[in-house]
């Protein structure tokens, strides 16, 4: 039975925020080089200027603060963003199986990355691949919207079909290029196909954080429209919504957010599909309540999956996309069986 009362809801959100914070801190302790949890807290405290010195080495401090911390935060941001996008898309398309990769964004990102690796090289330093992936994501999303568009009307059915079709064509291109290209290319492109948090740096975190914040605000502003659209077009019109406008706003918002997230972390599956369902079980389907909880759960989920990805086959990193798919799938099956 979902939580209904306002007080219980506030408590839940605060609780989740707390758990997320503690999880992020704890997650810093995991990884190939062992750093005790107490030292992790100390190092973070030192970096935040709360205390100075302790019995840890310079190396440990660097690993925790410069390598692990941005990675954990990127994981939380990406998980939150993907869950948010999935929640919104499931409502506008009235399809419980919709997910962030529906708009063809991920295949576009992979194509952008592969084209740059094969033909352009590093045109913008470290950022050339993420940038190329973002441009590819925008391109594919524009293509999907253009294919689905029918004299200014966008229907969910056409959008779903267009997304699938465009994804297949772009992935075919990617695979063709990889098949005929060299080994080096396929290694760096695999990152976007399987997903990973290895690009995390303090310098770039502001970008996904800002996008997540703007995305959350925009979708909260559209939350009533999402409720109405979930009930159907006629209901939405009779409640005063311009259905086409709401749809386009949601699609553009979610596609931009997904584009940024995918450019930085590749195509991480399952978070956007599964976490919205979990969140609905907790707080119901009213979107003003659902969106924040969905985002928090998504962040929490990806932080812990990343821990698993870093430790399961240590010292190697498991691509996080593989971990989400495996853990998520098993988790979902367990949930289904328990009902």
């Amino acid at each position: 039975m979902p939580i209904r009362s306002v007080a219980a809801y506030r408590l839940l959100v605060l609780g989740l925020l707390g758990v997320l914070l503690v999880s992020c801190m704890t997650a810093l302790a995991f990884g190939p080089a062992s750093v005790p949890v107490s030292n992790v807290w100390g190092i973070v405290g030192e970096q935040l200027g709360l205390r100075s010195g302790g019995d840890w080495t310079q190396g440990q401090s660097r690993i925790v603060w410069l390598i692990r911390a941005p990675r954990v935060l990127l994981g939380a941001l990406v998980g939150a963003g993907l869950a948010l996008v999935g929640t919104a898309l499931q409502a506008v398309t009235r399809n419980p199986l919709a997910d962030p990769h529906l708009l063809g964004v991920s295949s576009g990102a992979a194509l952008g990355a592969v084209l740059v690796v094969l033909f352009l090289g590093d045109f913008a330093g470290v950022f050339s691949l993420p940038l190329a992936a973002f441009i590819g994501a925008l391109g594919s999303m524009t293509l999907v919207l253009a294919v689905a568009n029918q004299q200014g009307r966008l229907s969910s059915e056409r959008l779903l079909l267009a997304g699938v079709a465009v994804s297949f064509v772009l992935m075919a291109l990617v695979n063709l290029l990889l098949y005929t290209g060299d080994q080096h290319a396929s290694n760096s492109v695999m990152f976007w196909m399987l997903g990973g948090l290895g690009l995390a740096r303090w310098e770039i975190l502001w970008l996904p954080a800002l996008c997540l914040l703007l995305g959350l605000l925009a979708l909260l502003a559209l939350a009533r429209g999402l409720n109405a659209l979930m009930s159907g077009e006629h209901t939405a019109v009779s409640l005063g919504f311009n259905v086409q406008a709401v749809r386009v706003q949601v699609f553009v918002c979610t596609a931009l957010l997904t584009g940024v997230l995918v450019a930085l972390s590749g195509a991480i599956g399952f978070v956007g599909l599964m976490l919205p369902h979990l969140a609905r079980r907790l707080v119901g389907a009213e979107h003003r309540r659902l969106l924040p909880v969905s985002a928090l759960l998504g962040g929490l989920f990806l932080v812990w999956v990343d821990v698993a990805a870093r430790t399961l086959i240590a010292p190697q990193d498991l691509p996080i996309g593989i971990a989400t798919a495996a853990i998520g799938g098993v988790f979902f099956i367990a949930l289904l069986r328990r009902r």
Binding site: P96, M230, G240, F241, N242, G284
Partner: protein
Amino acid sequence: MTALTIHQLRWTPTALERRQHWLLNGIDLHVAAGEFVGLIGPNGSGKTSLLRCAYRFNPPLAGQVSLDGNDLWQQRPRWSAQRIAVVLQEFPQAFGLTVADVVAMGRTPHQGMFAGDNEADRQLIEQTLDAVGLGDVHQHDFATLSGGEKQRVLLARALVQQPRLLILDEPTNHLDPRYQLELLGHLRRLGLSTLASFHDLNLAAAFCDRLYVIDNGCLVASGTPAEVLTAERLHQVFGVHALVDTHPLAGYPRITWITEP
């Protein structure tokens, strides 16, 4: 009080536009302030399509739909949602909305973008749920209600919208006799301008001030139930024989279908 006027309306879905096949043509319809008007006609005659034109869903190809002299299509969707509420047979997806959530949606056209439901909204929602007899299920999952209960929830949503014109598409069709009479009686007592489609002609005769008959996309008759519901016309439009006499207690026409033995 609000009046709805539809003047020389023509409509057809985009797909049929090129063939110049109109599903609605030359429709002239008027709902005076506070009047309860019924729309009757066979399956596929265009009742639902006509109602959709009246709540600003189907844009007319020709003619006008206006509310107190304001052309609906010159106004924003929100403007008409503040004035017109609709009870449809479109139910929310089974995504887990509670009854209270569904009813609260009716407040949307009166609220700002980020505003939550305030105390007045909550009270209105509660009172309205009580009025339709669903006060004790307001925290239930909407999807688990029976068809008739859902219908009443949707009516409650339309009522908290505080409209001046109510549009109802076959409002009684999931309801048991008691709730059919209660719902229509409740609507009459509200005194709102109302346009509703009916399949049950006896209910239409009992509750409507005036009736319009639609057949094949054109209005073929209008007037008081006694004027409109004649055996001859029922045979013309519905193709069935009926005995029409007067209700022994209330005085409106009573229709008895004559079945082939």
